[in-house]
């Protein structure tokens, strides 16, 4: 099987975000970059599928500036076979990213499965998997908790609201967007980290995958830090008094109950 994983590099969740001088983006200084959490489930699922289907390959793709190659290497160290980096600017929107990934995948002889995370932890837009489905003309199941793999397709369980689960059937090629719970991602072992350094990462440019400026549909601007919150009211007294006073304030002052 030809298995692909699309990944994104994002700031670590503990990272303090500062803005650049013109507020047109964040200050890259001091940011620790990581493989986006949901993408770890995507990589893991691809590796498990390969292990069950000897002769399969797992290729990791990422579209973005040169720094993202480091996260491709992280996925290679987990066990993926090779990588593809598509050079896009820092400001590329989700549409350009999806077009680029689709362009790179269309160059492949055969695509059976594409795994992604259900969203990336930087802008959490949750767009790329579905856009990719449109541009590849492939099936897509998002927020996936479990997959049964058959010879011609999958049966996937996806999380919907209120704790409900949908069971979806789709034939290959299919895009699976991973939710937490799909699996427990492995850690890269030291020998695998060493091996990953020698694995091939193919370099593609935007033009190679048919992406132009016209694919950029939106841009983020006027970055602001959230306004600091006013110090809240502390409610004193014994538990009964505190509870009573809180409910009174919520009812009469905040008017939310």
């Amino acid at each position: 099987m030809n298995i692909f994983v699309c990944i994104k590099q994002v700031p670590d969740t503990e990272t303090k975000i500062k803005l650049n001088a013109t507020s047109s983006g964040i200050d890259p200084a001091g940011i620790k970059w990581i493989l986006s959490t949901y993408d770890e489930y995507a990589v893991e699922e691809a590796l498990r599928l390969r292990e069950k289907n000897p002769g399969s390959t797992v290729t990791v793709l990422s579209a973005g500036p040169a720094r993202v190659i480091e996260s491709i290497r992280t996925a290679l160290a987990m066990g993926a076979d090779n990588g593809i980096h598509i050079d896009l600017p820092e400001t590329a929107d989700n549409n350009s990213i999806a077009k680029a990934l689709a362009g790179a995948l269309k160059k492949e002889a055969k695509v059976d499965l594409v795994f992604t995370g259900k969203e990336a932890l930087d802008d959490s837009a949750a767009q790329v998997s579905q856009l990719l489905a449109e541009y590849l003309d492939a099936a897509c199941v998002t927020v996936v908790l479990g997959v049964e793999y058959g010879p011609a397709g999958v049966k996937a369980r996806r999380e919907v609201e209120g704790g409900a689960v949908e069971v979806i059937e789709a034939s290959f090629p299919v895009i699976i967007a991973a939710q937490k719970g799909l699996n427990e991602p492995r850690y890269a072992s030291l020998p695998n980290i060493m091996k990953a350094k020698k694995k091939e990462v193919k370099a593609l440019k935007a033009a190679d995958v048919g992406v132009s400026d016209a694919d950029q549909k939106i841009r983020y601007k006027n970055f602001q830090l959230p306004p600091p919150k006013q110090a809240g009211k502390k409610i004193a007294g014994d538990p009964a008094t505190q509870a009573k006073e809180l409910v009174r304030l919520l009812h009469e002052e905040a008017k939310v109950v």
Partner: protein, 322 residues
Amino acid sequence: MAKIFVVAEHRDGRLKKSTFELLGASAAAGHETHAILLGEGVAELAKELAHYGAQKVHLVQDPALKLYSAEAYAKAVVSVLKGASPDIVLASHTPTGRDFMPRVAARMGAGLASDCVQVSLDGGRLAARRPVYAGKAIVEVEFIGSGVQMATVRANALGVPKPDTSKTAEILTASADLSGLKTKVLEVVKGASGRPDVTEASIVVSGGRSLKSADNFKMIEDVADVLGGAVGASRAAVDAGYRPHRDQVGQTGKVVSPTLYIACGISGAIQHLAGMRTSKVIVAINTDAEAPIFQVADYGIVGDIFAIVPQLKEEFRKIKEH
């Protein structure tokens, strides 16, 4: 005046409040307000869409729309939009809206701003702001070019308008070619709880590691039920097995913006704040006066949840009975 299309969302035969928010915002700004209503046997719902501001309701009924699927929804929405020259298309950033709207955007060649928390429709152009980096920054979304603008809007971001039951809408029946779908919904397994989803509830009561057991979450559920709210949890509570992952609030859980968020025994780690800091009113109950959750709380109680939460239930019950 712009032509604004709102994709209506319904579940179990009822329209969602978040749909009313979008209709209300469009109508209040004086725009030509269209609703797109999809499903099977849902024609009755058109009336209520009118009460909240829809002037025209585009109704697509098809057996393939009985159960939600992103593909069928996208195709049906696009079949309405093509030829209708929309300026702006809006849907709620619910598990459904966030799933199908990117597909509509791709088919329309439009830009899509996801998960917006502020939306202005003044002058017929969409101005939207959304959080990035888990709410550590907020950005304005610029649409490049003059094409159709699309957005998904977080529930509770705009507020539900008062319905006007004297209003009616023109119903336009449309059909869509829904053949050749690549996915098939085999089954929908319902969740057990009758509570609203944590992302849509206007009140969320959350508990943390300090609850110490799944059974103790009963007291959190009790408060949520008195208020008609949802139950949330910190990751520590989820990892300990007290709650399912779908209840997790935070950067790797659900992002919520209710009018009231009550954090019970939650420390307020940065990843938790990412999921709830845009809530309108935040209450924190924690034994540790230095807990970071107090920095975002509008009302704080330094105290023991096991003593306070049961009292709170009684107090809420009293005002609910009035």
